[in-house]
């Protein structure tokens, strides 16, 4: 790195190295294709089988859409699709309406109440659905919410609220407090700064939360299995499963229904995957271009080092107040911040976790 002799050495060996490199690079590429093919085989199988003519087929061609027309004409798949869509969209809207403000409080608030609240969120998240399902079944049977799509939606909201709150909080941590402070100086209220500044700037966070809650309720099998009884009100997962149990031999039709169920999440994921992250884990749109934590080079400021107030360990501040124009995108270390939050609830936050985000006032 430092000596000129080093540079010379690189210059001499370069051609040989680069040829070998490109060979290993393509070898890795082929290996990766093989891995991906193995991983995707079960999903590919679904699509292939859905296009194969079934036992009731009249065509001689090897690819047909007959299975799909059979499924739509002879089963209630369309109705189940409608049920699934209704419950899922309702759940997404309600849990974001609940989760976004709560996430704001978790992100900006401080104090014992907030810690207790995050502990509650953690405990709720860690408990298996089955523990809650039994009492809710008894309660809902009194309220007439068994075998009712509304009841199903209520449970999905309960299941996804805690994670939705976390995800929103993790995202809002990445929105600099400076923006809000400027608004407060201009006389903006707390709610005003939440709705006009934070919420308006957290579209990627809202989208990834929406995808997550969508997947939770779209893919759920257990809750629907317990709470839905009549065929009219089936959602696609239990519809598919009951159809599968009745028509084990008719793989074409079963897989056609599976493809119907598969399409919305895959399309959604394909369109929005750059925003996708769970609990803030994973990538978000701009990460690939500007990977890694903000460094001195990237932001034009020196990394801030400070000691952890509990263990005294020197740590590099991850969230820097960026002085360049890209405040919104700098230092979005959502992964650790939210994962720390995820686990942090057990014993209250460790100050390390606190260093990972910006808080601006006490609550």
């Amino acid at each position: 790195m430092t000596a000129p002799a080093d540079a010379q050495l690189t210059l001499i060996t370069r051609p040989a190295v680069s040829i070998r490199r490109s060979i290993t690079r393509w070898a890795r590429f082929c290996l990766m294709i093989a891995c991906t093919a193995i991983v995707l085989a079960p999903i590919g199988g679904v699509v292939v089988l859905s296009l194969r003519p079934g036992p009731q087929s009249h065509t001689s061609s090897s690819i047909t859409l007959e299975n799909f027309s059979y499924v739509f004409q002879h089963t209630q798949a369309l109705r189940w699709l409608g049920n699934s869509l209704a419950v899922t969209i309702g759940t997404v809207i309600v849990s974001i309406t609940i989760g976004a403000p709560a996430g704001y409080v978790l992100s900006r608030g401080r104090g014992k109440t907030v810690t207790a609240y995050s502990l509650l969120l953690f405990v709720v998240q860690a408990l298996p659905v089955i523990t809650g399902a039994i009492p809710l079944f008894i309660l809902f049977s009194k309220l007439g919410l068994i075998d009712n799509l509304l009841g199903l939606g209520v449970i999905y909201v309960g299941v996804s609220t805690s994670v939705a709150t976390w995800m929103m909080a993790a995202y809002m941590d990445s929105i600099p407090a400076d923006l809000e402070q400027a608004a407060w100086i201009d006389g903006c209220s707390t709610f005003g700064s939440f709705s006009r500044i934070v919420l308006r700037n957290s579209l990627p966070g809202l989208l990834s939360t929406a995808i997550f809650t969508f997947l939770v309720s779209w893919n759920d099998y257990l809750v629907a299995l317990i709470f839905i009884r009549s065929q009219d009100r089936y959602t696609l997962p239990i519809g598919l499963q009951s159809f599968f149990q009745q028509h084990t031999a008719n793989w074409g039709a079963v897989m056609a229904m599976a493809v119907v169920m598969l399409t919305p999440p895959v399309v959604l994921f394909g369109l929005l995957n750059k925003y996708f992250s769970v609990g803030g884990i994973g990538g978000n749109g701009r990460r690939t271009e500007r990977s890694g934590p903000p460094t001195a080079k990237r932001n034009g400021v020196l990394p801030h080092r400070s000691a952890c107030t509990e263990c005294g360990r020197q740590m590099e501040q991850v969230q820097l107040s960026s002085q360049s124009g890209r405040q919104r995108n700098s230092g979005r270390r959502l992964g650790l911040a939210s994962a720390a939050r995820f686990c942090g609830g057990i014993l209250g936050y460790h100050p390390h976790a606190r260093l990972l985000r910006r808080r601006c006032f006490r609550a």
Binding site: P101, L136, G158, Y221, T288
Partner: protein, 317 residues
Amino acid sequence: MVGISASSNQAPNVASQETSKVPARRVKTHAKATRRTLTLLVLPSVAALLLINAYPLIYATVQSLHSGTLINAGKFVGLSNYSTVVRDPAFWHAVRFTVAFTLATVLGSWVIGLGLALALRTDLPGRGIFKVLLLLPWVVPVVISATSWNSLLATPQSTLPRLLGAVGLGHPLFLADPTLAKIAVGAFEVWLNFPFMMLMISAALESIDKTIYEAATVDGATGWQEFIHITLPLIARSTYISWLLMTIFVVNDFTTIFLLTGGGPVNSTTTVGVLAYRAAFENFQVGQGVAIAFLMSLSLIVISTILYRRIRKVPIG
């Protein structure tokens, strides 16, 4: 600047010094208004948590002490539900399987996820596409994956038994033989969860400073040494967190096993979650079902607390 510390990374006393410049009364009013707004903002979420999550929990506690069914509450029986469960050999069988299953699938997913994350970090052509494609098992509804795995494994005419038969390994019935069923269920769970590990590790790898590797290369470190002495220690924290999260996922996961094997053959793949469901909704022993679920949650909380304490000691990589 009314009652607001400039930034959270400063110690609280700095904040109070700053606020002392502003008249005390205004600070108080503003803080009050802020607190009220925050309370209002968090209220719907708290209400939802209490109604849909906390209430059933309390009810379930009461239920686990009664001999009720799904319809009537039954008599108070104290801890006898718990003692029945603990004395049942089927419960301990399920516990042993759950522990082995969780350890194997968490480690398996981690190894595969780590390998793929490392591969995706290199200058691979088309890594973006690979990243999206490899996440698909996680996005596809479990019901569909289970159906699909069934079509690949279940009968002698299925794809994988036929392939193995062609190689000369007979036509193993994956879901009918206890040992093979355990392996199949484990493979299924790993297949479902390695994308999560890949995401977690990719995020951690991205945050490692590249200059460390440059320095190591200058010092003559081999690729393996770099992996052992730089990569692994620096992703340790994320690794522990991902292990913790996935342990919670796997132990709570009922659907996967229920859909693929239903807990069979001969209860060989019955996890604690499946046992709880069976007790409550198939045998109508609600008290016992809740007792099983509670014992499971309790051990989960203990395990996550222990793991969390470990995580606290690991520096952020």
